[in-house]
């Protein structure tokens, strides 16, 4: 708060009312409702519900299906995060190095940010098309008979490739801006101290980028877990079947297609707790980041 804030008694309340009411109606109420209904078993035909205690949760814990989805989410998140971060870092370092065409490269490497995940997924379908997809042909060249939507592993690979492609721009933007905010004098000092560009990067540049990288790590985990919904949904062409899916997709599937409100709510609650932990972790990091600069 500012030292010399205004002391008007009703104006701030008036200013806060729209935001607070939206949040209460569309955030706290739903969240509370989810927690409550996670302890109930919904009648599939809509005739009321029965209190079942923690049964929905124990069901989740025992479900082989759920465990499979959870493991896929872990792998998917780890691979997407690692690949999109490292490719973006490489590109950002190179874009920061070159003098000529730096702006053009920047534009070319960031525009994909604006593409919606399902649109990216749709492009993915075209590229991995069974008979004519350029990437299917490319893999076929190496003797890999790529079957999107049929083979679990192939579908997962395609989803990962599209998800990485879609996420590179954000990471690129943040890495580049992180690199550009490293003071010139620090770079010059490093130039004098060390003549190996490779060592300079790992000894000086990378540690200075670490706060950005930590921050992006969380962003990417969140992205892979939640924002890839559109990619996954389009790439399995609306037929979940035996296709790979993430935890969020399963919440959607069980809640809206399977009409298992209690189970879906319990899954929601599990995810909420997961995100909560992530976010607390992130706040800690942001605090440290502020001290760092």
């Amino acid at each position: 708060m500012k030292r010399a804030g205004f002391t008007n008694p009703w104006l701030p309340i008036l200013l806060l009312v729209p935001q607070l009411s939206i949040i209460v109606v569309f955030f706290y109420w739903p969240a509370a409702w989810a927690i409550q209904s996670s302890f109930y078993l919904q009648d599939p035909f809509g005739f009321g519900s029965t209190f079942v205690g923690a049964e929905n949760y124990t069901d989740i814990a025992q479900s082989i299906e759920y465990r499979k989805v959870a493991w896929f989410t872990v792998y998917f998140t780890a691979i997407v995060t690692f690949l999109s971060l490292s490719i973006a870092l490489l590109l950002a370092v190179k874009a920061d190095n070159v003098l000529r065409g730096a702006k053009t490269y920047r534009t070319l490497l960031m525009w994909v940010y604006a593409i919606a995940p399902p649109v990216a997924g749709f492009l993915g379908i075209m590229f991995f098309d069974q008979s004519h997809g350029p990437l299917t042909r490319f893999f076929g060249f190496f003797g890999w008979d790529f079957k999107l939507g049929v083979d679990y592993f192939d579908t997962a690979t395609a989803m990962i490739i599209v998800a990485v492609w879609k996420q590179i721009p954000v990471n690129f933007i943040f890495f580049l801006s992180g690199l550009q905010s490293i003071p010139r004098s620090v770079r010059e000092a490093a130039l004098i101290d060390n003549n190996s560009g490779f060592r300079r990067f790992w000894d000086v540049t990378f540690p200075l980028l670490a706060p950005t990288a930590f921050f992006l790590l969380i962003i990417n985990i969140t992205y892979a877990m939640f924002d890839t919904f559109g990619i996954i949904d389009t790439m399995m062409k609306g037929e979940p079947g035996a296709n790979p899916m993430t935890l969020v997709y399963k919440v959607y599937l069980d809640g809206f297609r399977g009409n298992d409100l209690g189970g879906s709510s319990a899954q929601s609650v599990v995810l909420m707790v997961l995100v909560l932990v992530l976010t607390i972790f992130q706040f800690r990091l942001i605090e440290r980041r502020i001290h760092y600069t």
Binding site: M1, K2, R3, A4, G5, F6, N8, L11, P12, L15, L16, P18, Q19, I22, I23, F26, F27, P30, A31, W33, L90, L91, A95, V98, R106, T107, L108, L109, W111, A114, I115, A116, P118, V119, F122, L123, I125, F127, H132, G133, P134, W165, I168, I173, S177, D227, F229, D233, T234, K237, G238, V251, Y252, F256, S268, L271, M272, V275, T279, I286
Partner: protein, 298 residues
Amino acid sequence: MADLTQTQIAQPTPSRLRFKWNTIFDHLILIAGSLLMLMPLVYAFITASYDPVTIHREGLALTFGDELGSNFEKALFEKGGFTKTVDGMVMLKNSFILGIGFAVGKIIISMMAAYAIVYFRLRFATFAFWIIFTTLLLPLEVRILPSYEAIQRLGMANTYSGLIVPLIASATGTFFFRQFFRAVPEELVEAARIDGAGPVKFFIDILVPLSRTMIAAIFIIMFVFGWNQYLWPTLITTDESLFTLVRGIKQIVLTYSDAAIPEHGQALALAIVAMLPPVLIVIFFQSWFVKGLTESDK
């Protein structure tokens, strides 16, 4: 001493050479990266210039056909979907309503809230702060089911407000503006108070004009975010006249997999229409967008 001069003389030639090789290598990587990003769109755009039969037979193409104009025309103006009531233009309009409505609504609401939190002595300021910022913790995807339930009960399904308002229920914008307002020099509000400006005047005369670039940057980010929403519109709009382009993608995909000879050309044209507005905005307002994105997240 002799050694020293020798190395000094010997050094420049290889290092200059190496420097050049390095630069070429850098450019090669960047060009590869740019192509990786660009090729899918190029493919899609060129393939959108063929008739469906050709695409079905040949797949994606890299040389232009002659159906580009007609495919775009059909995609935009031909009634499609299950009920044959909605064309590309309607979806385009809906996308703009969602993108702009969401961005404007979010900016107005979050600027007001951030102003109240930063510039007023408020007893429950900390409480309000926490109420608002807890929402940062849970993305909509995590709480879709209950949010959907809430919208149903409020009778807001299949309305624009049902589409837009729940998306505003996260504090990202408020957080951005709070950070920005806190960085505005303290003395400015003091000078304004001595100049006789009350809270409303200060907000309109000084704070809003000062935030112009920030508002622009957030508008771009939020517009793209709103335009690209998929899951929420998929749930909340079952009435086709409310479909956005991104929501419509799902329909495209379904036709793609179902029909004997799917309308690939049209589908691709529509996908291009769906990505063009946000992409153009991001490209043309690049510097604002990058500034907003990187600075607001600190």
